[in-house]
């Protein structure tokens, strides 16, 4: 799919700029050409300044904050540099239980899970490396991704599989990977249905799209009411079923599922609308040819439709992955991060710390989140997205 595009920019020449120093008499053309050359930079400058002030400066400053301690003192505030103390607190100190979770010793199930998934990772790494020339950058890139994956699997084995307890980091992964996978599958299903020539499909398109237009906090409050088995609208049903005294949002996984359902409801429409557009824009000829050749519906979908929509699907998953890491409204409103810390996401963890003016640790969590998102984003693009896009 990738082509080398002809450059639309004029070739750069330094002559015009350097001209006045060589005492070549000024001509109108030279001035115009000089101004022409500078115009780009001047026009871009405001945007660059805005980005510098609003984006780069806060980014660097929060990095500094994550390495220091903030304290209000007489007449203002003080920031003391403390090195990696805040990160130490997260990974091995007092915040470890909340951030990484309760690390249990690996039991049989934990070992089995870790060995199985670990072997798979190493196998995939080997396969990926064999598929191209063995250069150092490739080795480094693939190796880092594999290492990151192994670390994540190790953490999951110890906190989820072996009877420990996941911290905010793993809970966020659950929301991101579990949530986005479900959103994609349901979105694809709905899109496939709406792409058929069914009666009322226009209405359904609008209806399916509505949740995306609502404010997340409003959705979260609605779900808080819906999941309330004591006073909520489903209370009579819960009563009738004999579940009046059971609250599923008091169970860690029940609460996480409640948060995921809310998120699913809100964000599936985004998947749906993009995938619907992709489905409708695929060329009909290969499908018609396949029908003539006697292919069944599943074969058509698997061998023709899916490869055609793969680049779009891959992009929309990438956008949702990055977006999903920032989940905060749903757990905050629905459960307040509880029961315990069961539903707390990384962003909510940041907020809780920030609220008590512990800016240093808060920034450290935020930076860890940034690192994880960047890692997942780059790994996804390099390993999957590019391959899917290049396959065509």
């Amino acid at each position: 799919m990738r082509q080398t595009r002809p450059s639309v920019l004029p070739p750069r020449t330094g002559d015009a700029v350097a001209a006045p120093t060589r005492r070549i008499p000024l001509s109108r053309e030279r001035v115009v050409s000089w101004a022409d050359q500078q115009a780009g930079a001047v026009l871009v400058l405001p945007a660059v300044l805005v980005i510098l002030v609003l984006s780069i400066f806060p980014l660097l400053f929060s990095l500094y904050l994550s390495l220091s301690r903030f304290q209000p003192v007489s007449g203002g505030f003080e920031i003391h540099f403390r090195g990696l103390a805040n990160y130490r607190k997260l990974f091995v100190g007092s915040e470890q239980q909340q951030f990484l979770g309760q690390l249990a010793r690996l039991d049989t199930a934990g070992w089995l899970f870790f060995l199985a998934t670990g072997t798979l990772t190493v196998f995939l790494l080997g396969r990926a490396l064999r598929s191209g020339p063995l250069t150092f950058p490739r080795l480094l890139g693939h190796g880092t991704v594999a290492l990151g994956l192994l670390l994540a699997l190790w953490l999951i084995s110890r906190t989820v599989v072996s009877g420990g307890r996941p911290g905010t980091l793993v809970v966020t992964w659950v929301y991101v990977f579990g949530g986005v996978a479900l959103q994609f599958l349901i979105g694809l299903l709905l899109a496939a249905l709406c792409a058929q020539q069914l009666p009322g499909r226009r209405t359904f398109r609008v209806v399916f799209l509505l949740p995306m237009m609502l404010t997340p906090v409003g959705v979260a409050y609605t779900f808080r009411m819906l999941t309330d088995t004591g006073k909520g609208p489903f209370a009579p049903i819960a009563n009738w079923l004999g579940y009046a005294n059971v609250s599923w949002v008091n169970d860690p996984w029940g609460a996480r599922i409640a948060v995921m359902i809310g998120d699913l409801w809100q964000w599936t429409p985004f998947m749906f609308i993009v995938l619907l557009a992709a489905l409708e824009s695929q060329s009909p000829e290969p499908i018609e040819a396949a029908i003539v050749d006697g292919a069944n519906r599943w074969q058509i979908f698997w061998h023709i439709t899916l490869p055609q929509i793969a680049p779009v699907a891959s992009t929309v998953i990438l956008i949702r992955l990055i977006e999903a890491f920032k989940i905060v409204d749903m757990p905050y409103v629905l459960t307040g991060g509880g029961p315990g810390t069961a539903t707390e996401s990384l962003t909510l963890h940041t907020y809780v710390l920030w609220r008590s003016l512990d800016y240093g640790t808060s920034a450290a969590v935020a930076y860890t989140l940034l690192f994880v998102v960047t890692f997942v984003g780059i790994a996804y693009v390099r390993l999957l997205h590019r391959r899917v896009s290049e396959a065509l």
Partner: protein, 438 residues
């Protein structure tokens, strides 16, 4: 107000969970967009120490209309004062009490709870029975236990009587000599167990309840007992939502017959030495949780605005306005002036029966007169100690993420970490100052 003074007021409301941080950020960064703030006096150390608040002492001395001496001594001397100077004007009197359904207890011939064991026994008795006649089983007890809300105050109301028995100056959070938290001992363990036990006789989703939920449940007759600030009684007379008008009794926080021996870290039986303030052999420690909404003035506000701000706060606190405010449930303001306790008519006019008013004001008086009142934690970083570390540990404990022992260890570790970070000696001095220990 504009008609009265010519000053125009622009009120900015902030969600409670953000309040501490919003005000402090505004002051520390020098933005100073808030000229007058209404907040918890509990956070005063963080605001007064860096010099953000105006010393109101001279203004109050020159303001007879405020009737300063009509304000309860506890609120005047502890809530409004820091280091001997007055920084806030109280608008609300806050401490927690236990509320019960008079009709239910009378029908069973039961007395209001005196100890936390009584509380649990009463809760157990009524749990699962229909308490409001709608055919649906209700709950023995309903307490706000949601994370990031008010649960840590509710818990300390239970813990207080186990931890403090020698009077306010003994302190209920730290040892005043070493600044070691009082969270690693038998008394604290017992308090945690009781706190968890209340959940067995409570609603299934209690971990997700904040005071909004527990108040609504109590006044609609769904709980036999609850633990709250003074708001329940005034909400119970609101004809629009209450189903328990004149069926609500209030009582000083239940206590215990065994208290903490700080040297041994063990529970010891109450006697004249261990519980000098005990009533009927029960040590009560009413907890001035939160401390009551109070108004303060930003030191960096323009002089004219300061004058107007003071006039406004004074007006809000003067008996003419305040004595109406405290009788209305939705204001969130509870009585704090002596005239409010003594003037029963005020409450009868607001819709309470005379018996209910006497009961309510009696419970408040009993709490306020107790020499063993527990002052809320009022040292730098109080919000981190309570709002983050304690709140998270309690929530994890209730959710079963931590055992009782682990919860105590986590809390002690977390609190010591903050103390060491902010300076142990400095924190100790601040804690002693808040308790007026010289």
């Amino acid at each position: 107000m504009q008609k009265l003074t010519g000053a125009k007021i622009n009120v900015i409301t902030v969600p409670f969970a953000d309040l501490y941080q919003k005000i402090l950020t505004d002051f520390t960064t020098g933005t100073n967009s808030y000229h007058v703030v209404v907040f918890a006096p509990q956070w005063m150390a963080d605001y007064v120490e860096p010099g953000y608040l105006e010393d109101l002492t001279p203004r109050i001395e020159a303001d007879p209309a405020l009737q300063w001496n009509d304000i309860g001594p506890f609120f005047r001397n502890f809530s409004a004062t820091y280091g001997g100077r007055i920084y806030t004007i109280p608008l609300d009197g806050d401490f927690q009490m236990v509320y019960y359904r008079t009709d239910l207890l009378e029908a069973e011939g039961l007395k209001p709870p005196e100890t936390w064991e009584d509380y649990l026994a009463i809760a157990q008795k009524f749990h699962g029975k229909d308490l409001n006649g709608d055919g649906v089983p209700d709950f023995g007890s309903g307490i706000a236990k949601r994370r990031g809300a008010q649960s840590y105050w509710m818990f300390w109301s239970i813990a207080a009587s186990f931890l403090q028995s020698q009077g306010t100056q003994q302190g209920a959070f730290f040892d005043v000599n070493t600044m070691e938290p009082l969270t690693m001992n038998e008394a604290f363990e017992r308090a945690l167990e009781i706190y968890k036990e209340t959940g067995k006789h409570g609603p299934p989703d209690e971990l997700n309840w904040d005071v909004g939920d527990s108040r609504a449940a109590f006044v609609t007759g769904r709980c036999a007992l609850t633990l709250d600030w003074g708001d329940i009684s005034t909400l119970a007379i609101d004809p629009e939502q209450s189903k328990v008008k004149d069926k609500v009794g209030a009582v000083i926080l239940p206590g215990t017959k065994e208290v903490l021996d700080r040297k041994a870290g063990k529970l010891v039986a109450c006697d004249q030495n261990t519980c000098p303030h005990a009533i009927n052999g029960v040590n009560h420690a009413p907890y001035a949780a939160f401390g009551g909404w109070s108004g303060a003035i930003n030191k960096n506000a323009p002089a004219k605005v300061k004058d107007a701000g003071y006039a406004f706060l004074s007006y809000m606190s003067q008996p003419a306005q305040a004595n109406v405010d405290v009788t209305i449930g939705k204001t969130g303001f509870n009585p704090y002036r002596i005239s409010q306790f003594e003037n029963i008519d005020l409450w009868v006019k607001a819709g309470m029966s005379e018996a209910a008013a006497k009961n309510y004001l009696g419970a408040i008086k009993a709490s306020l007169n107790s020499p063993n009142m527990v002052l809320d934690l009022r040292i730098p970083g109080a919000q981190r100690y309570q709002g983050v570390v304690l709140d998270t540990v309690l929530s994890r404990y209730l959710a079963g993420e931590l055992t009782t022992k682990q919860a105590m260890e986590e809390l002690t570790k977390g609190w010591n970490e903050i103390t060491d970070e902010l300076g142990r000696e400095k924190q100790k001095q601040a804690y002693r100052a808040s308790l007026s220990i010289r």
